[in-house]
Structure formats: structure tokens, C-alpha cells
């Protein structure tokens, strides 16, 4: 089978011509780097994305803390993860990289803070 996909590993956005069968990738053309070949494999058989969002934080300068999954998660899991994110509320202080939720929705990824927020009164 053949398919043309666009690599999203970096802003270059290479057009990848992927040749594959039921089990494996046979050939990838058009990739500027190794990440392209890797991406093609995942994208064809089990596409994954990083989820980024915010969670409610109390006691910080701002009402929301930006978060991300620390690795890409199965595309199918994205909206389950978002549902979970809506429910989370945490307290400042928090450091960038701190785990907010371990193995979120069984995705294998941790939800981590992408920002450092000290404890202070909220000024929005």
C-alpha cells in the first residue's frame, strides 16, 4: 500500500511517500531526517499526538496552569484525557515539569506542568 503523509515532527513539514503492508513500513521517501521515518511508522499504524491544555490552579498569580502530556499519546485517547483535565484542580506552588497526573487515562504519559507558578495572591 502507498500513502502520502505530511510529517509533523518539526516545522519543515516534509511530504512523506510511505509504502507499507499490513505489518510494517516497507519504504519512506521524502523525509529530511530520521524522525520522518519514525513518524511514518507510528502515523500509519498507531498515530500519536502530544496533548497541551491548562488546569485550574489556586493560590497562584494566574487562574490557569499550562500543562502537556510528557510524551505523545494515542490519538484515540485525546478526548478522554481532555475530560480528565477539566476535572483537575491544583494548588500553587508548582514547578515546571512537575507531574500533575501520572499515567493519565492509562495513556502511558504523565500530565506535567509547563510553567512555574509561585504561591501568591491571584491578580489574574
Amino acid at each position: 500500500m502507498k500513502k502520502t503523509i505530511i510529517c509533523i515532527s518539526c516545522p519543515l513539514g516534509c511530504n512523506l511517500a510511505v509504502e507499507y503492508n499490513n505489518k510494517a513500513i516497507i519504504r519512506v521517501l521524502g523525509n529530511a531526517c530520521n524522525r520522518g521515518a519514525k513518524y511514518a511508522g507510528k502515523e500509519i499504524f498507531s498515530p500519536e499526538r502530544v496533548v497541551t491544555s491548562t488546569v485550574k490552579i489556586m493560590g497562584a498569580r494566574v487562574p490557569l496552569l499550562s500543562v502537556k502530556t510528557d510524551c505523545s499519546v494515542s490519538k484515540e485517547k485525546m478526548f478522554d484525557i481532555m475530560k480528565q483535565i477539566f476535572k483537575i484542580q491544583i494548588e500553587a506552588p508548582i514547578n515546571r515539569g512537575s507531574i500533575i497526573c501520572k499515567n493519565i487515562c492509562g495513556s502511558g504519559a504523565n500530565l506535567v506542568a509547563t510553567r512555574t507558578l509561585d504561591k501568591t495572591t491571584q491578580i489574574r
Binding site: 491548562t54 488546569v55 485550574k56 489556586m58 487562574p63 490557569l64 477539566f86 476535572k87 483537575i88 484542580q89 489574574r124
Partner: protein
């Protein structure tokens, strides 16, 4: 009695506000009912801001009767109420022999209306005065007494001063019913569920004046909105012209104008299209084309790429009286019209207000002058942009030392500080549009892209209105209506 008044004015555009201010000089209890969330939100906010010299109006009309006396009152009004006003002058320009003859007709009209200091100028003189006008111009009729103001600033100043002198302003009060009770007094009910009584009603309801009059079975006029599209250009082109420039008029409008605004940017427009729809505030591709074709003919330097925003005004044109104003008493004792007030209504408004006061007296309301009427506005907020324009940083520093809120520039395009936003909120403006008109925050080239959320924060902090309930221009126009994160908005 809380909701009992001698005079109720329906509608708080420039006409209603001017009447309220005039009546606030007397010892009577007055209220102004406004259906919108803020004053001047109807026709007035889209007015071009021209104080006309007065040569357009046909002698014998009410327009002609009030336009020149109205114009004369502006020097004093601006001194008392501290709104910016400049007598820049207006030019009606002619491109051919026929149009030169038209200039003569309007010159004659001007003389009939007692417009002072008019002149017909030849090509050279015109181009000397306004070098960016088209070189194809053959001549112009010049009225130096014409001026420019900011219409909503004028409206805010009038109603602000009226309130300082005891008039009551009630917002979000759309009239649902008017009748008379057993004592022959008016009863006014609003959709908000309030009921008011009064001896006298002034109908200054603009586009809806016919519907207000119908409550009292006055059906001898109908308001048909005449739509006008206007386009505001970047400050950059503000230097192109100093005076208001008109073409020779067509039968239903003064034509497309190039108008310097008191705040710097140039405005072009308006179109004139009759419509049945009183809520049709939409601009069109055709309107844009028409405006620029005509404006560029007069001032070739105006470009479509300079547009920073566009808007529509609906003129409340009355049908059934040759498009003249409908002003004065009616068959219903105590019910007074100030209706059908289209151009030159802004110019005429102070004179109309005085006339309405005389009519109210004749209708039997006892009018006694207050000894403590203060014609000056008590609270005028310092406008930082004026200091920045003059590069008077020292003065600015002193103001900041007294009030830190002046140090926070909320709108960087127009240099509006947090102190000015807070003053506007305390003055009763609680919508984004209201604050925009009161302070200019959001009127600049970024069109509120940057300051919207900041102004929302300040409204929230000052009034306690929840963030998701803050509106652009009243209920139904919430900016960010859906809280998405746990704990937000409840």
C-alpha cells in the same frame, strides 16, 4: 415617590441628552429612559460629528430654524462641558459648471438661514486651503463656522452634567407601554418590569419614535431608517484634510463626505439607503465601493487599505413631512415629539432642547430656574493621550504620582490608562462599547485586539460583573460566555 416625575424623556441620544441637560436647569423632577445598556448607542454613536454651518437646509423648514442657532451655542457648551470642539469650516466642492451653479443655490440658502461669513471660493483659494483636494475642483462654497465634535463624547457630557444637576438616567429600560391613568397622568411601563408616572413625555426615541408615539395613538408619521455606512481611516491620513469636505448634494443626502474627526483619524461616508429594518447595521461591499469612489474623487489620497474600522448609522428619517424634523406638541396633552431628527440634528440639538423646554412650559409644567444649577461638569477625567501628544511627560509623571492607575496604559493605540477606564465605569459605562466610546480604548488601529481582556478584568474588578457576563453592548453580546475550567464562573 421614586418613579414619579414631571418629565420623562424617552431616548438618550444627543437629542434626549440635550433636552435632559436643558431641563436640569429647572426645579423639576426628570428621568431619561434608555432602552440600550448605555447612552448614545443608537443613531448618535454613528453620527459623523459635524456641526454644520447651515447652508444645506431649506428655508422655512424646522431644520433651517434650528441649525444656525444650534451651531452658535457650541462655543459655550464646549466651554461648560469640556468636550473637544473645533470650528474647522466646511467646503462644498464643485467639479463642473453645473455644480458651480449649485454652489450659488446653496450660498443663497445659507444667506436665507443667516449663515455667517460664507464665501464662494475659486479653485486656487480652495487648493491653497486644502492642498490634498483633487486638482480637478473648480470652486467651493465655504462656511467657516462649521465645526467638528465627537458625537458620543458630547452626548456623555450632556447627560453627565444633567445627572450632576439631578436628572435621572435609567438604562436598559425599553418602553413596552404608555397610557394615562385616572389622574390624566402618563404611565410608562418598561420591559424590565418598571412603571413610571409623569406629567409630560418627550419622545426622543430616534428610530423608534413612531412606535413610541403609537402608544398614544399618534400615527401621523413613520420613521424609515436611512442607512449610512462610514469608514474610519488610520491616523496616518489624518493630516490630509483639515476641513469637512462635501460634494454637491443629491436629492436624498448630502453625498459622500471626507470628514476629519476631532480625534485625528479621517472618516469617509456616509451612504444613504432607505431600509425597512431598524436593526440593519451591516456594511456592504457595494457601500464600501461607493464611499471610496466618491471620497477619492474629492481627496485622491484616501485609500481602502487605510481603513481601520467601518460602521453603520441609521438616520431616523420621518416620512410624511418632507423629511423635516417633527418637533413640538401633539394632539395628546403633555406628549411632545422630538422626532425624525436626522442631519443636521446634532448641530440643531441645543436649539431643539431650548425649544422643547418652551413647549413643556406651554403644556403647563411649572418651570422655575434652580439657583444651584452648575453648568460645568464636575468630574472630567484627565486624558493622558493629550499629554503624550504634547510630550508633556513631566505633567504625566505628576498625575501618576497622585494616582497610580494612570501609569497603566491599557489601550496602547490610543494611550488610554486604567484610571480613565475606571472613571468611565464609575460614570456608568459597563459594556466594552460604552467604555470604548467614553475613553477611546479599543478605537485605534488594533481595534481592541490587545485591550479587550484587560478592560474586561477592570470591569470585573470594579463592578463585580462575572467575567463571562461582560458584554460588548448589552445582554446577549457576552464576549467570553463559556467558562471551561473547573471553578471558573461560579
Amino acid at each position: 415617590m421614586k418613579n414619579d416625575f414631571q418629565v420623562i424623556i424617552i431616548g438618550c441620544g444627543v437629542v434626549g441628552a440635550a433636552i435632559a441637560r436643558e431641563l436640569s436647569k429647572f426645579k423639576i423632577k426628570i428621568a431619561v429612559l434608555e432602552k440600550e445598556a448605555d447612552v448614545s448607542f443608537g443613531t448618535s454613536k454613528a453620527n459623523s460629528g459635524i456641526i454644520h454651518g447651515g447652508f444645506h437646509s431649506l428655508q422655512g423648514s424646522l431644520k433651517a430654524k434650528f441649525v444656525v442657532p444650534g451651531n452658535r451655542k457650541y462655543d459655550r457648551l464646549c466651554e461648560e462641558l469640556e468636550f473637544p470642539f473645533e470650528r474647522r469650516g466646511e467646503l462644498m466642492v464643485a467639479f463642473d459648471e453645473d455644480e458651480l451653479r449649485i454652489l450659488q443655490i446653496y450660498y443663497k440658502r445659507g444667506l436665507d438661514n443667516k449663515v455667517p461669513y460664507m464665501e464662494i471660493l475659486g479653485r486656487e483659494r480652495v487648493l491653497e486651503m486644502e492642498p490634498n483636494l483633487s486638482p480637478d475642483i473648480l470652486g467651493a462654497l465655504y462656511a467657516p463656522t462649521a465645526g467638528i465634535i465627537c458625537p458620543y463624547e458630547y452626548c456623555f457630557a450632556l447627560i453627565g452634567n444633567a445627572r450632576e444637576n439631578g436628572a435621572e438616567l435609567l438604562l436598559n429600560q425599553k418602553v413596552s407601554w404608555i397610557g394615562k391613568n385616572n389622574n390624566s397622568r402618563f404611565v410608562v411601563e418598561t420591559e424590565a418590569g418598571n412603571s413610571f408616572t409623569a406629567d409630560c413625555i418627550v419622545n426622543a426615541a430616534g428610530l423608534y419614535a413612531d412606535e413610541i408615539a403609537q402608544h398614544m395613538r399618534i400615527t401621523d408619521f413613520k420613521i424609515v431608517p436611512r442607512k449610512g455606512e462610514e469608514y474610519l481611516l488610520d491616523r496616518r491620513v489624518g493630516t490630509l484634510i483639515k476641513r469637512v469636505v462635501f460634494p454637491c448634494p443629491s436629492s436624498n443626502s448630502k453625498g459622500m463626505l471626507v470628514i476629519p474627526t476631532i480625534d485625528g483619524p479621517v472618516m469617509v461616508g456616509p451612504t444613504a439607503i432607505d431600509t425597512e429594518n431598524k436593526t440593519d447595521y451591516s456594511t456592504t461591499r457595494e457601500g464600501l465601493k461607493e464611499v471610496f469612489q466618491q471620497a477619492q474623487r474629492m481627496v485622491p489620497g484616501v485609500r481602502i487599505s487605510d481603513i481601520i474600522t467601518s460602521f453603520v448609522g441609521l438616520r431616523p428619517a420621518a416620512v410624511g413631512n418632507d423629511g423635516d424634523f417633527i418637533i413640538g406638541k401633539t394632539d395628546v396633552q403633555g406628549f411632545i415629539n422630538a422626532a425624525g431628527i436626522q442631519s443636521p440634528g446634532l448641530t440643531a440639538s441645543p436649539a431643539i432642547a431650548e425649544h422643547i423646554r418652551e413647549v413643556i412650559t406651554k403644556e403647563g409644567v411649572k418651570m422655575e430656574l434652580k439657583s444651584n444649577f452648575d453648568p460645568h461638569r464636575k468630574t472630567v477625567c484627565t486624558k493622558i493621550r493629550h499629554l503624550l501628544e504634547k510630550r508633556d511627560f513631566e505633567q504625566y509623571g505628576k498625575i501618576v504620582d497622585k494616582n497610580k492607575a494612570y501609569s497603566k496604559l491599557v489601550c496602547r493605540c490610543e494611550n488610554v490608562t486604567e484610571a480613565e477606564i475606571i472613571a468611565a465605569i464609575r460614570d456608568g459605562h459597563t459594556t466594552l462599547d460604552g467604555i470604548k466610546f467614553a475613553t477611546r480604548a479599543g478605537t485605534g488601529r488594533c481595534q481592541a485586539g490587545f485591550c479587550t481582556s484587560r478592560v474586561m478584568e477592570i470591569i470585573h474588578r470594579e463592578t463585580g460583573i462575572p467575567f463571562d457576563k461582560i458584554t460588548k453592548k448589552g445582554k446577549g453580546s457576552e464576549i467570553a460566555p463559556y467558562p471551561i475550567k473547573k471553578g471558573n464562573g461560579n
